[in-house]
C-alpha cells in the first residue's frame, strides 16, 4: 500500500512551519512520527496536498524540569518520555502511561504532540495528562496560547487546535510527592491494543482519608475525560468499601460511553465501574 504524491515541506524552524501551514491552509497536515497521518493517508482517509515535517526543528523534542513542572516538547517520543529519568522520578504516572502505548516500535516513532493532536480517546497518555493538570502550549501565526488539557479534547477526534496552529510543548506540574497513583490499562485482546478503559488515578491520602482525588479515563467516552464527579465524591472521604463503591458508581454514571464494534456502551460503563473500584481498592492498602 503506497502513498499518493504530496508536497513535503521540511521545516527547520517553527516560523517556517507556520508559514507553510498558512500557505497551504486546510490542504496541509503536520507530520512528526508519522504513526497517525501516514496510515490515514495510505487508507485514503486524508489526502493532504502537503505534509509539513517538524522533525528537523531544533529543540522541539526537549524534556526539561524546573522544580515545579516538567516541560515536554511536542516531538518527544513516547519512548523518550517513558524512559526519561526526570519523568520517571517526578511524573511516574505519566511515564507509566507513555510506556504502555502500543508496542516499543510505535513508542519510538510516535510523539507526545502527535498523540494529543490526534484527539484519540482510546489512548494512554491523555488520561494521565488530565489527572496531572497539564497545560498545552499552542503557537499560531499571531500568538501563543495555553490551553488547559481539560479544555483541549473537545469531541470525537477533535481538539482545540485551530487551523494554522502548532502544538509546541506541554507543561506538566510535578506529581505531588507521596501521592498514591496508578495507570490501569484494560485491553480486551492483545497487550499492544488501545485501551478499552485507560484509567489514571492520583490520590492524596492521609490516615485513611482521601484528601484529594483526581481520576480520568480514556477509551470509554468519545474523548479522554476527567471523572470530575467521582473525584469530588472521593475527596474528603474515608477510603472504605462504601466510599469506593460510591465513587465507582458515580464514575459509571457520569460518562457518556461510546457504542461501537470494540464494545457496547453498557460494557464500557460496566468495565469502568469495575476498574475504578479495583484500582481504588488496590490504592487503599
Amino acid at each position: 500500500m503506497n502513498l499518493k504524491p504530496f508536497e513535503y515541506v521540511e521545516a527547520t524552524s517553527l516560523d517556517d512551519a507556520l508559514k507553510a501551514l498558512d500557505a497551504y491552509g486546510d490542504e496541509a497536515r503536520i507530520v512528526a512520527g508519522g504513526t497517525v497521518v501516514v496510515p490515514l493517508m495510505k487508507m485514503r482517509m486524508v489526502q493532504p496536498e502537503a505534509l509539513v515535517s517538524l522533525t528537523r526543528v531544533e529543540g522541539l523534542a526537549d524534556v526539561r524540569g524546573d522544580g515545579e513542572r516538567i516541560t515536554i516538547g511536542a516531538l518527544a517520543t513516547h519512548r523518550a518520555v517513558s524512559t526519561s529519568p526526570l519523568v520517571r522520578d517526578r511524573l511516574p504516572l505519566l511515564a507509566e502511561a507513555c510506556g504502555r502505548v502500543a508496542s516499543p516500535v510505535i513508542r519510538s516513532m510516535g510523539t507526545i504532540g502527535g498523540n494529543l493532536c490526534y484527539g484519540e480517546s482510546a489512548s494512554d497518555p491523555p488520561s494521565a495528562m488530565l489527572v496531572l493538570g497539564a497545560r498545552v502550549h499552542v503557537r499560531g501565526p499571531e500568538e501563543e496560547r495555553v490551553v488547559p488539557v481539560e479544555d483541549f479534547f473537545v469531541g470525537y477526534y477533535e481538539t482545540a487546535i485551530g487551523e494554522g496552529e502548532i502544538l509546541t510543548h506541554v507543561e506538566v506540574p510535578l506529581q505531588p510527592e507521596g501521592a498514591r497513583w496508578r495507570y490501569l490499562k484494560w485491553t480486551p485482546r492483545a497487550r499492544e491494543d488501545k485501551p478499552l478503559v485507560g484509567l489514571a488515578v492520583l490520590l492524596d491520602v492521609e490516615d485513611g482519608t482521601c484528601r484529594e482525588a483526581r481520576m480520568a479515563v480514556g477509551g470509554v467516552a468519545d474523548r479522554p475525560v476527567l471523572l470530575a464527579g467521582a473525584s469530588a465524591a472521593l475527596s474528603g472521604a474515608t477510603l472504605d468499601d462504601a466510599a469506593i463503591a460510591d465513587a465507582a458508581e458515580v464514575a459509571a454514571d457520569e460518562v457518556d460511553p461510546v457504542d461501537d464494534l470494540q464494545a457496547s456502551a453498557g460494557y464500557r460503563r460496566d468495565m469502568l465501574r469495575v476498574w475504578v473500584r479495583r484500582v481504588l481498592d488496590q490504592l487503599r492498602a
Binding site: N2, P5, G34, V38, S103, P104, I106, E192
Partner: protein
C-alpha cells in the same frame, strides 16, 4: 518529485534516488534492491518491516524515506558480520523459529532492540518487545525459545556458563 538523498545503510554510505512520497521500505526495496526488509500490512500493524534509524526502532512502512536523509539505517542484512550470523539469527536457526519466514526480519530487529535495552530479559519483557510483531504462521513458541536462548548467550555468557 524525484530526489537524490544520501544516507548510511548497514554502515555503508549510499546515494539513492527516491520519490518524495516514498516510505523507507520503498527506498530499501525499490531504491536499493535490498529485499531483506518485508512489507506486510503496510499500515504499521504487523512489524515485518521493522528496522532501526539512528538506533531507534521504526516501522519502515510508516517512516517517510525523505526523513532518512543523513541518517543511519540498520536492516536485517546488517546483522551478520564477516559472514558470521548474529547470535540472535543463529538462535532462530537452531530453534527452527521460522516457518514461512516472512515475519522473521522484523522479529530479529525487535529482538536486537530488546537485548540492547535488557541484557537479561524476563519473559514479560520479551513478550512486550515482540508484541508489535505478528507471525501469521503462529510460530510464537519457538520464537520465544530462540529469543530466550539468544539472551542467555549474549548476556555476558555468564548465565549460559553457570547454567
Amino acid at each position: 518529485m524525484r530526489k537524490t538523498i544520501g544516507l548510511e545503510v548497514n554502515g555503508r554510505r549510499e546515494e539513492v534516488e527516491i520519490e518524495s512520497h516514498w516510505t523507507l521500505v520503498q527506498l530499501l526495496r525499490d531504491g536499493l534492491q535490498m529485499l531483506g526488509t518485508e512489507e506486510g500490512c503496510g499500515e504499521g500493524s504487523c512489524g515485518s518491516c521493522t528496522v532501526t534509524v539512528d538506533g531507534e526502532l521504526v516501522r519502515s512502512c510508516l517512516y517517510l524515506a525523505i526523513r532518512a536523509e543523513g541518517r543511519s539505517v540498520l536492516t536485517v542484512e546488517g546483522l551478520a558480520r564477516d559472514g558470521e550470523l548474529d547470535p540472535v539469527q543463529r538462535a532462530f536457526v537452531e530453534h527452527g523459529a521460522v516457518q514461512c519466514g516472512f515475519c522473521t526480519p522484523g522479529f530479529l530487529m525487535s529482538t536486537k532492540a530488546l537485548l540492547r535495552d535488557h541484557a537479561d530479559p524476563t519473559d514479560d519483557e520479551i513478550r512486550e518487545y515482540l508484541s508489535g510483531n505478528f507471525c501469521r504462521c503462529g510460530g510464537y513458541t519457538l520464537i520465544l525459545a530462540a529469543v530466550r536462548d539468544a539472551a542467555g548467550g549474549s548476556a555476558t555468557g555468564g548465565a549460559a556458563a553457570e547454567g
